[in-house]
């Protein structure tokens, strides 16, 4: 028999604290769709996606209703397009992106990820063609997401790829200048990209994964914040060890929901269940913010001194609770700090508390990286590449995932606002040092060698 408290507290999380399943992402292997003929490839892709994912949205909605917990987004990730589309040219890759977009639209999912290349050690012909196609592909489509892995702790940092991505991001922004560079919001540059991320824009189905797999991304920054607020209200002398314990317990609950929903969706679709990504993913709504957690922890705002320590506590407690709740935890799993997607973080930038440099420091102790960061439109390719290189270095040396999702907003300066709409939110454009300057270091190119695996200080 359930206790009254168990039922009421669960309802409270669902109704008033924005607890939801942020995404159920169906990974689909497309390697058996390959063909030397583009039209055949496109037809195969379409048929396979509709066959595997045609029922995804209905099943998720039905199961969401059964448990009274909304599955906010239903998404698809596919095998890296640079691999299954390797023979094709840049213009043909744009057509592949359009085919993916069409299938996603028909399956009624909001995003499809996997316009992806893995180039941490070198760039193949197919990789290069895909990368060159990104600006147009992301402009011509509205649901396709792209990710490029340019670095890993085993391979090092491919600085040639980093420089190219500086150029690609700039071009993608220019092609969508009427939408504040929206195409860049669908493009992530990674170090150590996981094969099973359910969250966009980094979702793709890894080469080592099954034929089809269900990965789930849960979210619950509002639940964590309310739990901290309640604990401090009932005991103002609570210490950080006990707060960490509280976050851990909350993360446990959130993760259990993800696994319950994910397994049931997977059972219904007769597809293998993959992982729960137990990230705290905010939305641009009050009460659904990671930034607000910093204030609950006694900081004036995210970005002020103390923020890195607070985020380290938060991130580690989230992981610890999640790992206990499920043996199938993967993806990014940690706290996200996407600037535009979190009302509170966006406000901290506007108020001057959070700089790009502090944001970079924060990414050394949390998942993701420089996420949804709007920068001045005149930021040069070199500087964009240099920001990426710095972020990749944090990931490579610390053996963790980092990513950069940078949006150089065309025609706008630091301090102005950029609007991306919906979940992508709005952001104050951050100041960048030497924004429009050149950078000789980046242009040396080559590979920054991988770190040694001992002497770990």
């Amino acid at each position: 028999m359930l206790s009254e408290n168990e039922i009421i507290s669960t309802l409270e999380m669902l109704k008033n604290e924005h607890l939801d399943v942020r995404t159920v992402t169906l990974g689909i292997n497309l390697f058996d769709c390959v063909s030397h003929d583009l039209n055949t490839l496109k037809k195969n892709i379409h048929n396979k996606i509709i066959k595997v994912a045609g029922n995804l949205v209905n099943v998720c909605d039905r199961i969401g209703e059964k448990y009274g917990i909304p599955v906010v987004n239903k998404r698809i990730s596919v095998s890296p397009a640079a691999v299954f589309g390797a023979p094709f040219s840049t213009s043909q890759f744009v057509e592949i992106a359009i085919a993916l977009n069409l299938a996603a639209t028909e399956a009624n999912v909001d995003f499809i990820g996997g316009f992806t290349a893995l180039v941490e050690k070198g760039i193949s012909k197919g990789d290069r063609a895909l990368i060159e196609a990104i600006p147009e592909a992301l402009t011509e489509t509205d649901r396709v997401c792209s990710s490029i892995n340019v670095a890993s702790s085993r391979a090092g940092i491919n600085m040639d790829a980093v420089l190219i991505m500086g150029k690609i991001i700039k071009k993608a922004a220019q092609l969508t200048s009427d939408k504040d560079g929206l195409a860049c919001a669908k493009l992530c540059v990674f170090a150590n990209i996981p094969q099973d991320i359910p969250f966009m824009a980094g979702a793709y189905l890894g080469i080592g994964e099954a034929e089809a797999v269900i990965n789930v991304g849960v979210s619950g920054p509002g639940v964590v914040k309310k739990a901290i607020d309640r604990a401090i209200a009932s005991d103002p002398d609570i210490d950080l060890g006990r707060i960490a314990e509280l976050i851990k317990r909350t993360s446990y609950k959130v993760t259990r929901i993800g696994e319950l929903i994910g397994r049931e969706v997977a059972d219904h679709l007769k597809i293998r269940f993959g992982v729960v990504d137990l990230s705290l993913a905010p939305t641009p709504n009050v009460g659904d913010s990671v930034g607000e957690i910093f204030q609950s922890l006694g900081l004036l705002s995210i970005g002020v001194p103390g923020s890195t320590a607070a985020l380290a506590l938060l991130n580690n407690a989230v992981k610890t609770g999640g790992a206990f709740a499920s043996s199938h935890v993967g993806g990014l799993s940690g706290a996200f700090i996407p600037v535009s997607e979190d009302l509170n973080i966006s406000e901290s930038v506007r108020a001057g508390y959070l700089s790009l440099e502090k944001l970079e420091a924060l990414t050394s102790v949390c998942s993701v990286g420089l996420d949804m960061v709007a920068i001045p439109g005149n930021t040069s390719e070199d500087t964009i590449a240099a920001i990426i290189a710095d972020e990749m270095a944090i990931g490579v040396i610390n053996k963790k995932t980092t990513a950069a999702r940078l949006i150089p907003v065309p025609g706008k300066k630091a301090g102005e606002s950029a609007y991306f709409g919906g979940l992508l939110g709005k952001a104050t454009i951050m100041h960048v040092n030497n924004a429009d300057g050149s950078n000789r270091f980046i242009r040396f190119g080559g590979l920054i060698p991988a770190p040694i695996q001992n002497l770990t200080n």
Binding site: E4, T10, L14, Y67, L260
Partner: protein, 184 residues
């Protein structure tokens, strides 16, 4: 041995269970299940016991009533029917229906009318109406078994409509979500 159901009702005080069970022991009855609850100041207990063949329910009832008179308790005894004559929970899924909203007359009747109409069985019910604005002070929690063969969409629609007429916020959720979150 036959099985009997014994229900005991009265103002709560120490010693009720001890008094009832000592009489059952003296009459050579074997207790199989007990459940008790206290609502405000009222005690209610239900006992299932196997009783000797020569002990009728009427004799058991009169023995209990006499022995418990000093505690001012009402006693009712009936034979336990075979399970297949009652509601069969096999082929059902356990759900929790929760309503939150201000107290007024007819809330339980209004909700249970819909539940009963669809052949859904209530296995546990807690209703608290303390008045005031705190949502958790005016709550009904129904644990129910919903037969697999009924159309849940129609049940949901009717419950939501009725709840809205009664000024209640209603949730209908499979029990597993509460188990997953709260139990290891």
């Amino acid at each position: 041995m036959n099985k009997s159901v014994i229900s005991v009702l009265g103002q709560d005080r120490p010693g009720i269970i001890a008094a009832v069970t000592s009489i059952l022991f003296k009459l050579d009855c074997n207790i199989e299940n007990i459940n008790q609850t206290i609502l405000q100041s009222e005690f209610s207990g239900i006992f299932i016991a196997s009783i000797p063949l020569d002990l009728t329910n009427d004799i058991l009832c009169s023995q209990l009533t006499g022995a418990l008179a000093h505690l001012d308790l009402c006693v009712y005894v009936k034979p336990l029917k075979h399970k297949e004559e009652g509601f069969n929970a096999a082929g059902c899924e356990p759900f929790i229906i929760t309503t939150i909203g201000p107290d007024r007359k007819g809330l339980v009747a209004g909700i249970t009318e819909i539940i009963a109409k669809h052949g859904v069985n209530v296995t546990n019910l807690k209703a608290i109406f303390k008045g005031g604005d705190n949502p958790t002070d005016n709550v009904m929690i129904y644990e129910v078994d919903i037969p697999n063969e009924i159309d849940q969409q129609i049940l949901r629609k009717e419950l939501i409509k009725r709840a809205s007429e009664l000024g209640l916020d209603i949730s209908i959720q499979h029990r597993n979500i509460f188990m997953s979150i709260n139990r290891i």
